[in-house]
């Protein structure tokens, strides 16, 4: 095991896949000469040159579309958005083209593309820079949505994403790029898309949390443990396809569940997983499933308001107490 920063794990995945396959290239704002807005792509221009590491203008819709067209012709673009908050400008290309081209053309073209970049809030950046879009993309058939929480997951899943034959949304977080973690040194380390991981075992409650929310869940679980409540944390890692079997198996053991979701509450990951649990494990539940999400309001700038807005360990603990009738 090597200890790497999250950004380094992503960089290793990019580097290894670019080394392996000439058709893999990266494009996005500031990815080349600036060495990446968050230094994810640092050094890749030097190694692979201007043909395969391409700076784009601030034209999310345009370069996302050029990526889709290039993928239709058999290339494997990795398109970086400086944040998925800016990818909203490219929504027509991601939702109407990348996800639909294959089906509406009767299978004659496919779109092996990865759209990657940070998701959700990065601190006090106000309303337009703070939204988590994983649940929204998961709404659309054909898109895989990955939102890993630790460097090891990031590396193995990004390599799989780049090799995937269909479009993948790969989400990171500005606030996790510096996070260190052990990363497998296995050669050609691939984690299959769509497999959850039990990251903490426990018998009292199941907490489902991915991406940045996993770390909040972990803080909460450490706290709860001091009070004698042992939480089992499941990190789905992939929002879609969603590994409901692993979650249901855990709920059948703990009989209680809290879902932590960085999106707004309406129709998100939490509501979907909550629905599936009630259907698949109704008789095993000792309490209604609870969720911790963003409130149904925009992100505020002011620090005290912002702290109220973003889910934290305290709210996770409160939700656990609710399902545990403590």
């Amino acid at each position: 095991m090597a200890v790497l920063q999250f950004r380094e794990a992503i960089r290793e995945a990019l580097d290894e896949e670019m080394e392996r396959d000439e058709n893999v290239f990266i494009m996005g704002e500031e990815v080349a000469e600036y060495n990446g807005a968050y230094k994810v792509s640092e050094g890749l221009l030097d190694k692979y040159g201007f043909k395969r590491v391409i700076d784009t203008p601030i034209s999310e819709l345009g370069f996302a579309g050029i990526g889709v067209g290039a993928a239709m012709k058999g290339l494997r673009p990795v398109v970086e958005f400086m944040t998925f908050n800016f990818a909203v400008l490219a929504a027509d290309q991601i939702l109407n083209h990348a996800s639909k081209v294959r089906y509406m053309l009767g299978g004659q073209a496919s779109v092996p593309i990865v759209f990657r970049g940070p998701n959700g809030s990065a601190g006090q950046l106000a309303a337009t820079h703070s939204v988590a879009y994983d649940s929204m993309y998961a709404q659309f058939p054909g898109l895989s949505v990955i939102y890993p929480s630790e460097p090891d997951d990031a590396k193995g899943l990004l390599k799989s994403a780049i090799r995937n034959e269909d479009p993948v949304i790969f989400m990171e977080s500005e606030q996790m790029y510096g996070l260190r973690g052990e990363v497998s040194e296995e050669e050609d380390y691939l984690i299959p898309i769509g497999k959850a991981k039990v990251k903490r075992e426990g018998s009292d409650v199941t907490i489902v949390a991915t991406g940045k929310m996993y770390h909040i869940a972990k803080q909460a679980a450490d706290q709860l443990s001091k009070d004698g409540v042992e939480a089992e944390i499941i990190d789905p890692r992939t929002i879609k396809p969603f590994d409901i079997e692993t979650v249901v198996k855990s709920v059948k053991k703990t009989n209680r569940c809290v879902i932590v979701d960085e999106s707004h509450p309406f129709g998100g990951l939490a509501s979907e997983v909550g629905f599936l649990i009630q259907r698949e494990a109704f008789d095993y539940l000792d309490a209604p499933v609870q969720r911790v999400t963003l409130p149904d309001v925009c992100a505020p700038f002011s620090k005290p308001l912002f702290d109220l807005w973003l889910p934290d360990a305290k709210r996770v603990i409160e939700a656990v107490n609710t399902v545990a009738y403590r």
């Binding site: 345009g62 067209g69 290039a70």
Partner: protein
């Protein structure tokens, strides 16, 4: 100072402002080429194939319209009638290996790039034997084997895809080019700006072609966009051209020159081809935004009549030989209708097919 109160106007007023009795022409057609087929390097056989191809597109759509009106199939049906010289002239000018992508007015493009009348008609009917297996319908004809990357339904949405095809050709160093076609309405979409900027900056081997047919759905060019469309290229320092699209020779001559230049220099072009859409935007269009006189004025320039007249005047074919082609095409289209009618609809399982090239995953499939 006069204090006359005037009505506030945003969009320029269309027909309702016209009480002069003068026919408003939505697009001015530049003069067609004076060159004959030999000057252009086309054989007599080429000219005959051009005529047959254009006539097939015309009759295919006229029959499709008839079947649609009989209620044989549903969905949208955007007809290309009047614009056939553009698809035909272009396909003769490009190499077969070059990529073509277009918007939803795509039947003509599919037929010139190898979709049979049968599989085209079957697609309109939503049958399993259709070119897109009944998954796409009228707006999504496709034949990637012959480098036709589809009809696409979002106005302007496929413009960067065409840029991406060119990007891939440059990346692969294969000396192929891409040609992206869209209507005058798409000129108003922001993605055109982004794509043209990147194409010029990155020197993509791409041709972006506006088929200016006079109308963005029911809004005439003068009412939906400012200035001359081809002049937009100047803002990008991009090579550009404007020419007549009602004459296959003119389209061929210009597109050949442009394609050769793109192949040679890997620099993009922005091209406005002026044409005219005889039919409504789609089948539900009552066409109240234009006069009958205007339509008739353009129909006098009909590209198919024009090439037919040329063939007869140049004695390339006799009247009887032309009639033979007409009969043959007529039969081909009738056979296509029979084929579409008799073909099966997709099986229920097909609902879940063609989503994924890799491992399929269908969330919560019941």
């Amino acid at each position: 100072m006069a204090n006359k109160k005037q009505e506030t106007v945003f969009t320029p007023i269309g027909l309702s402002s016209d009480n002069t009795g003068k026919v408003e022409i939505s697009v001015d057609l530049p003069e067609p080429t004076v060159k004959n087929h030999k000057d252009l390097g086309l054989s007599e056989e080429d000219v005959v194939v051009m005529f047959e191809q254009m006539y097939l597109q015309r009759r295919f759509e006229e029959r499709a319209m008839q079947m649609y009106q009989k209620g044989k199939f549903g969905g949208f049906l955007h007809l290309y009638i009047g614009q056939e010289a553009i698809s035909t002239g272009t396909v003769f000018a490009l190499d077969d290996e070059d990529d073509i992508i277009t918007a939803y007015r795509d039947h003509g493009w599919g037929l010139v790039r190898g979709i049979s009348a049968k599989s085209g008609m079957a697609e309109l009917y939503g049958k399993a034997t259709g070119c897109s297996k009944g998954k796409g319908g009228s707006m999504h004809f496709v034949n990637t084997e012959q480098n036709f990357w589809g009809g696409h339904g979002i106005v302007g949405g496929h413009i960067p895809l065409g840029g991406g095809l060119a990007f891939a050709n440059k990346y692969n160093g294969n000396n192929k080019i891409s040609a992206t076609f869209f209507g005058d309405g798409a000129v108003d979409q922001g993605v055109l700006h982004e794509t043209l900027n990147m194409s010029q900056l990155w020197k993509l081997p791409a041709i972006y072609v506006v088929e200016n047919n006079g109308y963005s759905m029911g809004t005439s060019v003068r009412r939906h966009t400012v200035g001359e469309i081809y002049e937009r290229a100047k803002g990008y320092g991009m090579k550009h051209a404007v020419f007549n699209g009602m004459d296959a020779f003119t389209v061929y001559e210009n597109m050949k020159k442009i394609a050769d230049d793109v192949r040679e220099t890997s620099e993009p072009w922005f091209v406005e081809i002026r044409t005219y859409r005889y039919r409504g935007h789609s089948m539900s269009d009552p066409q109240k935004y234009r006069t009958k006189d205007e339509l008739e004025a353009y129909q006098k320039n009909d590209p198919i009549e024009r090439i037919k007249k040329y063939i007869l005047e140049e004695k390339i074919l006799t009247n009887d030989e032309v009639d033979e082609i007409i009969q043959r095409v007529e039969q081909e289209v009738l056979d296509a209708v029979d084929f579409a009618e008799e073909s099966p609809f997709p099986e229920p399982e097909a609902l879940y097919e063609d989503m994924f090239a890799g491992t399929p995953f269908i969330h919560d499939k019941q």
